[in-house]
């Protein structure tokens, strides 16, 4: 049982959800959108998250859909991570999300919930950052579609009252060869010290990273550096100045430890793809 009272709303449509949010704000309440709920319930129990109204988005059909067609694939934001893992149209996304949390919890964590979560990992966004994906965002003005590159900067840039309804990727991008590297401290189920999602196309290696810095990112400067170096003639220490933030140093691992794990992982990627 949580230690504070709140109201619970379960809308059936996107419009109802946006409308009730607006109405609750007008009444000076603190509404919060909610889907799988794993992070909301655990953070609320610890007292680090407060709200007095929850808007449960699970009943909204468009947000549960998975629609692969000839041109693109649509992933509803309410797909659970296990449902995402079962699809085979975007294998890199499957490989990345199948290692988040544990199998049972992945029956509840949703794609949208992981990407919009408060924890700084948001691993599911990494493959989307590599394939010029689009994100569908609903709000009081309706649903808009933005490129993920424009909408994601450390986190999804949502305005008050907005929520994510789904993600779209071009079929051509999603079918590229990909690689997922996840490093944890000891147990299989843990937050990542490092999660890399990487792809290679005719322009070279692309990679997006979580766990290393305080937020997930794709660094085109880093990609360019890796694609420009030849064979083993490169200085791995030189890549740190290309990161968007300092390497994390926390109770899970020191920055030196994370750097060592990162360097080994980049070397592995370069061995796989760098000389091709």
């Amino acid at each position: 049982m949580l230690s504070f009272d709140f109201e619970y709303y379960r809308p059936d449509t996107i419009e109802e959800a946006a409308e009730i949010y607006k109405e609750l704000k007008r009444m000076e309440k603190q509404p919060l959108y909610f889907s799988g709920g794993t992070e909301v319930v655990s953070m609320a129990r610890k007292g680090v998250l407060k709200f007095n109204a929850l808007i449960d988005l699970k009943n909204i059909k468009e947000m549960r859909d998975y629609v692969p067609n000839e041109e693109e694939i649509y992933f509803g934001a309410n797909m659970t991570l296990n449902e995402v893992t079962e699809q085979e149209s975007f294998l890199l996304l499957s490989r990345v999300v199948e290692t988040i949390a544990d199998h049972t919890v992945r029956n509840r964590i949703t794609l949208g919930g992981n990407i919009c979560g408060r924890l700084g990992y948001r691993e599911a966004v990494l493959p989307f950052l590599l394939v010029d994906a689009e994100v569908c965002i609903a709000g009081a003005e309706g649903v808009k579609t933005l490129s993920m590159e424009a909408a994601f900067d450390k986190r999804l840039m949502l305005s008050s009252g907005e929520f994510v309804t789904g993600f779209k990727v071009k079929k051509s991008g999603s079918s590229l060869d990909g690689s997922s590297i996840r490093k944890v401290r000891t147990a299989d189920v843990d937050y990542p010290l490092l999660q890399i999602a990487a792809m290679k196309d005719e322009r070279g290696i692309k990679l997006a990273i979580s766990g290393l810095c305080p937020y997930p990112f794709r660094s085109k400067a880093l990609e360019q550096y890796l694609n420009d170096v030849e064979g083993s003639d490169w200085d791995i220490k030189g890549i740190y100045k290309l990161l968007p933030a300092a390497v994390k140093d926390d109770h899970i691992a020191s920055s030196e430890y994370r750097k060592a794990v990162f360097e080994k992982s980049i070397e592995k990627l370069m061995r796989k793809w760098g000389e091709a």
């Binding site: 009272d5 709303y9 379960r10 009730i20 319930v41 544990d102 919890v105 509840r108």
Partner: protein
Amino acid sequence: MKCYKDFTQMILDVNGEKKKVIVSPKDTLLYVLREKLGFTGAKPGCENGDCGACTILLDGKPVKSCLILAVEVEGHSITTIEGLRDTPIQKAFIEESAFQCGYCTPGFIMNCHAMLNTHPDADDKIIREWLSSNLCRCTGYEEIEKAVKRAQNHINVV
């Protein structure tokens, strides 16, 4: 649109029976099952989604009931350990002595039962992946894995 502002009477489908219960939005499913409906098989452990002692099935899939609000599951099918009777995995746990203190056992059995329904021929990789959702502090993992394999044999013989 459903809206619950305070204590509300609702009907939950638990182990195939309709149960009338009064819940508040802040009640977790684990709390309602144990404290209001008397299904004490699901255990409170970490209450943070880590240990798996509270695992139940929601529409046939294993979930951690400490991370779910009771108001979310109205209209869905809930199965607790009390809803299983003489299943292959229960028999196999006894035959392999796959428990010591027994506190984690209901959660393990619910998860194993769901896995065997989904993957009757689960290989070691699938077994490890599913069972990594549950912790046993008596470290009885080897016997639990043996129990899963014995249950697979029971199922395949039938």
